[in-house]
């Protein structure tokens, strides 16, 4: 059973633009899926639909076997919240809570959503901070951190809830090229630990290095999918060839 199964989802925005035309794919446990494509292709929207930040108009999404939406019909609110806890989401602009310290950002949801006792939450938070290399920043506030540091905290915050799948929405797009490396290193580490991940990214080399499977989306459809070495190194369609040309300057 795939850990995530997306079947024929369709979505249009209120102005009539069809952003997702008919998307289907599966993600297996321990797999890393890279999603690449031009802006406006619908890749972020699709990821956000899986995370329940947007609603689809039709189709089905299954997470760990349970349906978020089945043929356009959404499950009940409590069900949705429960299923949602299996997913972690890392935003392009981090979205850390500015009024909480780094440590509080990571422990707050553990304590108030998972009802983890404070001592245990702190232990987990500290371990994750060490994993992302920010142990010395535990009492700092997000406004005192660089973009790369904030994103690493944001990853730690998602991991603290022990999700089964981590979704990344262009995690490095808001960062300077120099800071991008920090994040990619963290994601690589998670890959080694066999974390199931879906990464929407513009970082072509990264997508090729780390993904088990790549999906290329354009204009709301999946144009090509497959192993990185075939999709990126050996594109079949003109659309993909055009897209990749820009990166092979």
């Amino acid at each position: 059973m795939s850990i995530i199964s997306v079947q024929h989802i369709k979505k249009s925005f209120s102005d009539g633009v069809q952003v997702l035309k008919d998307i289907s794919f599966d993600v297996e446990q321990g797999e890393i899926l890279g999603i690449i494509g031009p802006s406006g292709s619908g890749k972020s929207t699709m990821l956000r639909c899986i995370a329940q930040l947007e609603n689809v108009d039709d189709g089905s999404i299954y997470v760990c076997g349970s349906p978020i939406v089945e043929n356009g019909k959404y499950a009940a609110k409590d069900e949705l919240r429960k299923i949602g806890l299996n997913l972690g989401f890392v935003f392009q602009n981090f979205n850390l809570f500015p009024h909480m310290s780094v440590l509080q950002n990571i422990t707050d949801a553990q304590i108030h959503v998972l009802k983890t006792p404070k001592a245990e939450a702190l232990e987990i938070a500290r371990k994750l901070l060490a994993d992302v290399g920010l142990s010395d920043k535990e009492n700092a506030y997000p406004c005192e951190l660089s973009g790369g540091q904030q994103q690493r905290v944001s990853i730690a915050r998602s991991l603290a809830l022990k999700p089964k799948v981590l979704l990344f929405d262009e995690p490095t797009s808001a960062l300077d090229p120099e800071l991008t490396g920090e994040i990619l290193a963290v994601i690589k580490k998670l890959a080694l630990e066999k974390m199931t991940m879906i990464v929407v990214t513009h970082e072509m080399a990264f997508a090729r290095d780390i993904s088990d499977k790549i999906i290329f989306m354009a204009d709301g459809v999946i144009v090509e999918q497959g192993e990185p070495k075939s999709v990126i190194s050996n594109p079949q369609t003109d659309r993909l060839k055009d897209f990749l040309k820009r990166f092979n300057q």
Binding site: L53, F97, P98, H112, V113, Y141, L161
Partner: protein, 211 residues
Amino acid sequence: MTKIILPMLSASVVSIEVFFLTLIFSVPLGFPLAAGRMSRFKPLSYLVNAFLLVIRGTPLILQLIAVYFFPAYLFKISYDRFVAAIIALSVNYACYFAEIYRGGIQSIPKGQYEAAKVLGYTRMQTFFRIVLPQLVKRIVPAMGNEVITLVKDTALVSVLGIAELFRTAQTTSSRLFSTTPILIAGVFYFIMNWAVSSGFVVIEKKLDYYK
């Protein structure tokens, strides 16, 4: 001098009572008003918006008179003037606070709500743990303005015959044929507002631990 100052001191206590009671009622009342104003249910938001426009668009002194005298003339109900004053002031200030809250809430980035959602927070938790703390910091300057105005607006309840500082200063002035009591009242108001603005400076400093 003591004959002037002593009654004014005890009248100040009445002004201060009016001030605190109004705050106690209007600060919470602003929230449901803001919620109604921001409601997606159009009839409700139009109704609340109309109410906010009327209350903020008409003189507070008229509202004070209306709240006390309309029930008396229309329904022959007469009740305590002090209660009427607090009701009128609280409703009036709640409307101003509602707009301040609305501005603050709308200035909180959508990403905060999205982060809370993916982390599994309930709507209540999102409001109390994520939105409200950030809202407080954003609205402190505007609230400071309103609270300072409130200190001065307590003088308006004199129109209902309540013996607060301004009225007492007025009557003492005419009794003694001197403007001194009015000047002293000015000093009293200034001192009260100086305490209030200092209070707000302290609050702003305490909230300055993050940007």
